[in-house]
Symmetry: C2
Subunit: 250 residues, 2 copies
Amino acid sequence: MVKPANGSTKERIPLSRERVLAGAITVADTGGIGALTIRTLAQELGIKPMSVYHYVANKDEIIDGIVDLVYAEINLPVPGGDWQTEMRRRANSARRVLASHPWATPLLQSRLHPGPATLQHHNAFIATLRAAGFSVELTAHAFALIDSYVFGFALSENALPIHGPESVADTATSMMEQYFDAEAYPALLEFTLEHIMRPDYDFGEEFEYGLTVILDALATSLPDNGGAPPSQPPTTPSKPAKAPSGTPSK
Amino acid sequence: MVKPANGSTKERIPLSRERVLAGAITVADTGGIGALTIRTLAQELGIKPMSVYHYVANKDEIIDGIVDLVYAEINLPVPGGDWQTEMRRRANSARRVLASHPWATPLLQSRLHPGPATLQHHNAFIATLRAAGFSVELTAHAFALIDSYVFGFALSENALPIHGPESVADTATSMMEQYFDAEAYPALLEFTLEHIMRPDYDFGEEFEYGLTVILDALATSLPDNGGAPPSQPPTTPSKPAKAPSGTPSK
DNA sequence: TGCCGCGACCTTACTAAGTACGAGTGTATA
DNA sequence: TATACACTCGTACTTAGTAAGGTCGCGGCA
């Protein structure tokens, strides 16, 4: 009745949990998690809403599923490699991934049912530090510090109205305009005018600075800090001149 | 008829925007933002749903309003004071405030319509650093670094199932149990057993460590770093009392 | 061949939310 | 007393999630 896979219309790929979750990510990427409803998802998949429930128990399971898929996209650090390099690679990967799935940032940490990719990710993270000589305690410090920073940064970054220099400036302008006496906030005004609204302003560039600060600090806390000097923190000049993370690669 | 029988005197405190927002915070604190609906809010206030709309245009305005109230609760840093002390005080205050309003953390940065308390907060933050001799650029670094950390940490902390040592351990246990072969994640397992599940484990204690790392690093980046040695990063016995990176002495 | 069961997908319908519209009620002032 | 306005509420429309159960095609099996 409906249409057996005859000529004109599209071949019917059988639905699956994977297709459901992939569709959910597409919808969320396009319109935010707010746009992810069973109905929009069904539309994206070309099916009727209730069919989704053949593959997932409820919407929460969809959320858990796509969060795990996001974790799966993040580059895992490799235990045994130079830990700073690995941490830096993972951090940059995480930032990139979260930038392409902005809706995920507040969810990553808050799910109570971690999936396999999530567990594998945490496992690799911890293993990398332990293999580099971090004590359990220092690993805990590093975990909290790095991930608070990385996820917090992603949160801030994704909160920016739109990305790209010009739109930030536009937004800042209109914000300052409509919110009455900007003169009540002189420091904020100066900061906005002299920094945020500069044409070459790019908040994303701040990421490297903080990351370097954090990794260096952890390096000095390592017991066998074998003379390896910490990499230069990208001193005050804004550009962290392509941080060569001081440690020799193996 | 539901009304109390105090016919003559009008016990009824007149509704107001303030009461609406305060009620919204109460509801959100009790059951999370998910529990905040116009209907639950009306119930909390002892009124009917539509009455709310006399004081706010829509639910979004309620969210904007309560976010600004949360900012208002955070201790402002005082420009002119010792900047590390001020930053530390503000950070601890922010953490406390966010712990009492866990629903707010993902919202703080993402609102497009900052209220007066929000602007005042940012203004005080920036002014404090500028007054301490931070260049505009270093202020931007510090802003991104500190706030990413503070909000990121709050995000992680609030994501913990419940607060307090024992419940974390319980959760970790059940997580490891139900998620099949914990042996696929040996480092995670070790970490969980030897650290997370220790009876005296308290994630919150990590906060000071990271905050100190960050403030010290910023201190060394300050041009007039008047010989003041950075404070010791706390805990972690095994560490050389070495000044953190950035000292161009090398 | 005809029936059965099953997996995949769909129809209907119930409930909870946000909120538009406009009517009731009380108080202040003309 | 009449009019105006502020505040509050009743009704109803719309979009969510999802419970219950229906339909259809296919591959066994008597």
